[in-house]
């Protein structure tokens, strides 16, 4: 399931040095839980994103372990401190080995 996966991230463009900002992330992914069955009664294989990380200039902000009980199109909201100008890197790890990432720059102002 590597098709149609699109990460979306909401980060303020500027922040005061040392201040806290709220980050919202969403990635389109069906998060097949491995519990559902198709019409013939066979179990649909599990296919989820199992890990999400957010880093700022190489320093960890949050590292999340996801289980099948996370809803489809996993959404996360959390707070980060911005000590200086730099880049946020967001990375999602798929069960099938795919890695999706996106980055956002934040300026001090």
């Amino acid at each position: 399931m590597a098709s149609g996966v699109k990460p979306r991230v909401k980060v303020p463009k500027t922040a005061a040095a040392g201040s806290a900002i709220t980050i919202k992330t969403l990635i389109s992914h069906k998060m097949e839980s491995g519990q559902r069955k198709d019409k013939e009664g066979t179990v649909i294989a599990r296919s989820i994103i199992n890990r999400f990380t957010c880093e700022f200039n190489g320093k960890s902000v949050i590292d999340i372990t996801l289980e099948p009980a996370i809803s489809s199109n996993p959404y996360f909201q959390f707070d980060a401190t911005v000590p200086e100008a730099g880049d946020f890197v967001f990375t999602w790890y798929d069960d099938d080995g795919s890695v999706y990432d996106t980055r956002k720059s934040v300026a001090i102002g």
């Binding site: 069955k37 700022f56 289980e67 996370i70 996993p74 909201q77």
Partner: protein, 138 residues
């Protein structure tokens, strides 16, 4: 209504499955908690779990957790086929030890949040969520 031998056996097996299931689910939730805490004592408090009282759709239930001073927070749904839901590990640039997401709940059940504090202690918060339509497919 007369029961054939076949139907009688099927009923019997169904009854056994029903009586075994709740125990199995509860045990797995405890196992997951023990795996996270390493068997340490868990006290109530120190963490806030915000969850709706009634969720109409078990496929997407918004929850939020917060635990000042925590290094990690784990969320457990005791009534799900797999009770582990999510684990948040907070890094050095986390401005607050809080996060929000959306989870799946199979039915009405207890949702538990366990916070691992920096000093190695554990705190717990529990919230009952009533689910109108379960979120596990069928």
């Amino acid at each position: 209504m007369e029961l054939s031998r076949r139907e009688t056996i099927a009923f019997g097996l169904g009854a056994v499955a029903l009586s075994v299931m709740p125990f199995r689910v509860a045990a797995s939730a405890d196992d997951v908690i023990a795996g996270f805490t390493g068997g340490a004592n868990v006290t109530d408090g120190g963490v806030t779990l915000t969850a709706p009282e009634i969720a109409e759709n078990g496929n997407t239930v918004p929850i939020a957790v917060a635990a000042p001073g925590a290094v990690a927070i784990m969320v457990i749904a005791t009534g799900n086929p797999e009770s582990a839901v999510v684990t948040f590990n907070f890094g050095e640039l986390a401005a607050s030890q809080s996060a929000a997401t959306r989870i799946r709940l199979a039915g009405t059940q207890d949702v538990v949040a366990i916070a691992k504090m920096a000093d190695g202690s554990f705190g717990r918060a529990t919230s009952v969520v009533k689910v109108t339509i379960g979120g596990c497919g069928g």
